[in-house]
């Protein structure tokens, strides 16, 4: 019988010895970070893990200070305990989590952490230390939904480029537009206005004096605006005459212009108060004025007024 029980006794003894030896092994301390490179606008997680075999209350972990860091700031911490069993062996794990926020670009360091604990069965105290950990702080990453940092810069560059291009195109277009007029000489506007003036037939027995004065008045004002800088279509006769006082318009011509415009106003607004002879005279004066201007070289003042 003793021979039958002998192997079982030996096996049981071995198991007991193994278990006892396992429970005597000390606490293991590890320190790890979830990344070795962290963007400036992100955080890094530091985990201090204490692992030992046996029940959680086998050891008493003494409170320890927060890790000393360089270029990091601890913004949060937490701890957790758990027990796992594998192959009949219990393992207790205690985690200390620290959330670290980088302060500036460059290298950051987490100094070694000292953890002390006591073995409650023997009342002995032990001391554990972690290694120094280095973490590189890199450029911040774009936040979700935010524009990339370079976008405003690119936008500015594009805007300047767009304005430049617009100005270039505008100048080019202006040059192209003015080119035919330049090519045709300074008398282009006179030629155009003369053609319009001659559409009014003075010999027409059914000549509408009011409509004729309307044409003559508009031609005169266009000519004065182009050649002598008279105010545009929003100005009244009095304003045009007033503006011409300081212009290069010869006094005799100024008097004639005033007569033409006043008679035109009389005809247009008085319900037909002007005579046909007045219109014929106005027509002739305007024709003479345009022809003379076409013959004469425009002076510097005239050139300015065209622009």
């Amino acid at each position: 019988m003793s021979a039958r029980f002998c192997p079982w006794v030996v096996l049981g003894s071995l198991l007991w010895i193994h278990t006892t030896l396992s429970q005597e092994s000390e606490i293991r301390l590890s320190a790890s970070v979830d990344r070795t490179e962290v963007p400036l606008n992100r955080t890094v997680e530091l985990t201090l893990r204490l692992t030992w075999s046996g029940e959680p209350d086998r050891y008493q972990i003494h409170p320890f200070d927060n890790p000393i860091t360089q270029n990091f700031e601890i913004v949060a911490n937490a701890s957790s305990n758990r027990v796992t069993a594998e192959g009949g062996l219990k393992t207790s794990i205690t985690d200390y989590l620290f959330t670290l926020e980088p302060s500036s670009l460059g290298m950051g360091y987490i100094e070694g952490v000292i953890v002390t604990y006591s073995d409650l069965s023997t009342s002995e105290s032990f001391r554990l230390t972690t290694n120094r950990i280095a973490v590189k702080v890199i450029d911040p990453v774009p936040e979700p939904g935010s524009r990339p940092r370079w976008l405003p810069g690119l936008g500015g560059v594009l805007l300047i480029f767009g304005i430049g291009l617009g100005l270039y195109l505008f100048r080019r277009r202006s040059k192209i537009r003015s080119a035919p007029a330049d090519a045709a000489g300074p008398a282009k506007i006179e030629q155009l206005l003369l053609e319009q003036l001659r559409t009014v037939d003075l010999d027409d027995p059914n000549l509408d004096v009011t409509a004729g004065f309307d044409v003559v008045s508009k031609i005169t004002r266009r000519f004065l605006t182009a050649r002598y800088g008279a105010p545009g279509p929003g100005a009244t006769t009095a304003q045009v005459i007033e503006a011409l006082k300081g212009s290069a318009l010869p006094p005799r011509l100024a008097t004639e212009v005033e007569e033409i415009l006043r008679n035109a106003d009389l005809s247009k607004f008085s319900g037909g108060g002007a005579e046909c002879s007045d219109f014929q005279r106005a027509w002739t004066l305007v024709e003479a004025m345009l022809e003379k201007s076409m013959r004469d070289e425009p002076g510097p003042d005239n050139t300015d007024s065209q622009q």
């Binding site: 929003g234 009244t236 006769t237 247009k268 607004f269 008085s270 319900g271 108060g273």
Partner: protein
């Protein structure tokens, strides 16, 4: 056309003789301010009430008093104060002890020329009482309605609303004034003449040279002044540009105008332009007449937005832009 232009011109020559007399008499007392005097005459001829605005001391009140003294009419001056009541203007019902009945007691508004001095010193209820009477040209006391005499013209003065102790006139009430005239400071020469004239021992006085009938006759001629359809369209273009500026190529004004000019603006532009032509001895209206009185007719009829106020753009700036933009016929 009822009359030929030559006939109208002849009528104007005849009926406008008093204009020079008035101008000469007023000039005895008032130095400069020709613009204001001309506007007062336009109001008188076109039967439109006038609001004069300017800082104190610019002869607003004196000009109106002088004008009233040269016209042989019943003149009343009402000094608007914060404690004035509507009954103080239009009148009230008085209990007669002799027969035990209530009788109407007419207020100072029953006159030909009313000077409503510093109209913005009184609260809105008093302003409304006056302005409603101005519009209706009649006043109801108890169960009786009394027509106001003709000619009836209210010339109101007001100090700029930035000054303390004033009540801004409601926009709807301001619209009833044909013209709002802004009075500016005199130039250096005028200031010198004012100082000399007003420090004499005997102050200058104007004589009565015009009868109410002359004014009434002149008004009839003013209504005969010819206004061409082209000018009428020009007026409508201007008024519409204040309502729909974008349609007239003034997109930049779209966000600056809260409310454009009312149809009263068209009416008063037409009437005032005719009166202006009359003063120029002309039997027809030209665009110059419209532009000349355009600012005074429109400046108080356009309500600007907060955006305009923030950009310090006034109704006058807007009117100026509109007048410069709309093509004259």
């Amino acid at each position: 056309m009822e009359l030929d232009i030559k006939q109208i011109n002849a009528l104007i020559e005849k009926e406008s003789e008093f204009v020079e007399k008035i101008t000469a008499e007023v000039a005895k007392v008032i130095v400069g301010q020709k613009y204001m005097i001309e506007r007062l005459l336009i109001g008188l001829l076109a039967d439109g009430h006038i609001l004069l605005e300017g800082v104190p001391g610019l002869a607003k009140t004196m000009a109106v008093k002088t004008l009233s003294s040269v016209i042989k009419t019943r003149f009343q001056r009402i000094q608007f104060t914060p404690d004035l009541l509507p009954a103080d203007i239009i009148g009230t019902m008085i209990y007669d002890q002799h027969d035990g009945k209530f009788r109407p007691k007419q207020g100072p508004i029953f006159a030909n020329l009313i000077l409503a001095d510093e109209i913005n010193r009184s609260p809105a209820k008093v302003q409304s009482a006056l302005l409603e009477a101005m519009q209706e040209r009649q006043v109801t006391l108890g169960d009786s309605t009394f027509a106001l005499p003709a000619p009836f013209l209210v010339l109101a003065t007001q100090n700029p609303i930035e000054q303390e102790g004033t009540y801004p006139l409601p926009e709807a009430q301001v619209d009833r004034f044909m013209l709002k005239v802004s009075i500016g400071y005199p130039d250096r020469g005028e200031e010198l003449e004012i100082m000399r004239r007003m420090t004499r021992q005997q102050l200058p006085a104007a004589e009565t040279v015009v009868t109410p009938q002359q004014i009434v006759n002149a008004r009839k001629v003013v209504h005969q002044v010819y206004i061409d359809p082209k000018i009428e369209n020009y007026i409508v273009d201007i008024v519409f540009a204040t309502r729909e500026p974008a349609a007239c190529g003034l997109e930049e004004l779209k966000e600056l105008i809260a409310f454009g000019a009312s149809p009263r603006a068209s009416i008063y532009l037409s009437l005032a332009a005719r009166a202006h032509a009359f003063l120029r001895r002309r039997g027809y209206v030209t665009p110059e007449d419209v532009r000349s009185i355009g600012m005074d007719v429109l400046r108080h009829r356009i309500i600007v937005t907060y955006e305009a106020e923030a950009e310090e753009i006034s109704a006058e700036d807007i009117v100026r832009k509109v007048l410069n933009k709309i093509e004259v016929p």
